[in-house]
């Protein structure tokens, strides 16, 4: 009695919900339904080097520096010259990035003829809850910019 129907599965959106409810810090979790197929959405979302500086006003550049398979390393430079090294897990439908102070994640699954897309982002250090208004602002701006991305329009 171990057939697949006996095992409840968690898609990437559900996994992101679990993380949003359990990772400590000041995090902002958003979900949107996009009218584009998941392959097209993920092609944009996973192009981190090009898209992160476009979506996040605080990021000037994001460059992969190493790693292999789905475990990668990256170096980010902020608008004011601040720098951070990131650990990245990237695979179809799932991306999780963390530096010493910041965490970011994205997930996508097909829903109807479109895609359910979710983001999670914020600060992970103690006392970061004071920055909640900022994470809210950044999270809302980023997901709105993503939803309006030219590559996702018909």
């Amino acid at each position: 009695m171990t057939d697949n129907w006996m095992v409840a599965e968690l898609d990437p959106i559900r996994r992101l919900r679990v993380l949003a409810a359990t990772v400590p810090g000041a995090l902002r979790h958003r979900e949107v339904l996009l009218p584009a197929p998941v392959d097209r959405v993920w092609a944009v979302a996973s192009d981190l080097e090009r898209e992160l500086p476009r979506l996040l006003t605080t990021v000037r550049s994001f460059r992969f520096t190493g790693g292999e398979g789905e475990r990668l390393r990256a170096h980010a430079v902020g608008r004011f010259g601040q720098q951070a090294d990131f650990e990245v897990v990237l695979r179809p439908g799932w991306c999780l990035m963390q530096s010493r102070f910041v965490v970011g994640a994205m997930a996508a699954v097909p829903e109807g003829e479109g895609t359910r897309f979710a983001t999670l982002g914020g600060f992970r250090f103690p006392g970061a809850r004071l920055l909640s208004p900022l994470t809210g602002l950044l999270g809302d701006v980023a997901i709105r910019r993503f939803a309006e991305h030219p590559a996702l329009r018909d």
């Binding site: 009695m1 129907w5 409840a8 968690l10 993380l19 409810a21 359990t22 999780l96």
Partner: protein
């Protein structure tokens, strides 16, 4: 991970105690990795108990498990602890959904028939969440009666009588 826990937990990959400790400190990558290691185990418990609501139950169970991780003093106890939470969340979600199946079973399939699994699922669906939980723990996971009593928070005698009734109900539906 101790051998005892691995045997008790069944074919679940061993979980590095250092990973559990990193997750207890709130490291997001460790929490995500631990979630992925626990998901098949939690899903195997929540699926048969909560059925179509299994993904909801598994999601809720993982939130409770990872949120409460700091209370866990011994990483080797993780799987047993996760199992207790998964069973309780699955029963809770199934009770909340309150779905019952009343349509009669189709003709019984022969073993090996691809429809067999569907028939088993139909038969399970006719049981209460509490009966599905005791069947999952004893007959699928092979958990002993004492542990089942602890997981379900009911006396040993209740486990035995509930298991007997659950098996009788399953057999009755199966053979009808």
């Amino acid at each position: 991970m101790t051998t005892a826990v691995q045997q008790e937990a069944g074919p679940t990959p061993g979980i590095d105690p250092a990973l559990v400790r990193d997750a207890q400190r709130g490291d997001p990558l460790a929490l995500a990795e631990l979630m992925e290691l626990l998901t098949p185990y939690v899903g195997r418990i929540c699926g048969p108990i909560a059925r179509q609501d299994g993904p909801d139950a598994a999601q809720d169970a993982l939130i409770v498990i990872l949120r409460g991780l700091r209370q866990l003093r011994e990483p080797a106890a993780l799987l047993g602890w996760a199992r207790t939470i998964a069973v309780r969340e699955a029963v809770r979600v199934a009770q909340r959904a309150g779905r019952t199946v009343t349509a009669p079973l189709d003709e019984l399939r022969a073993a090996g028939d691809p429809q067999l699994a569907t028939d088993v699922e139909d038969a399970l669906a006719r049981l209460t969440p509490e009966h599905r939980a005791v069947l999952v723990l004893r007959d699928l996971e092979g958990v002993d009666e004492t542990t089942t009593s602890s997981v379900l928070a009911v006396p040993l005698g209740t486990v035995r009588s509930r298991l007997a009734r659950a098996r009788r109900s399953f057999r009755k539906v199966w053979e009808s």
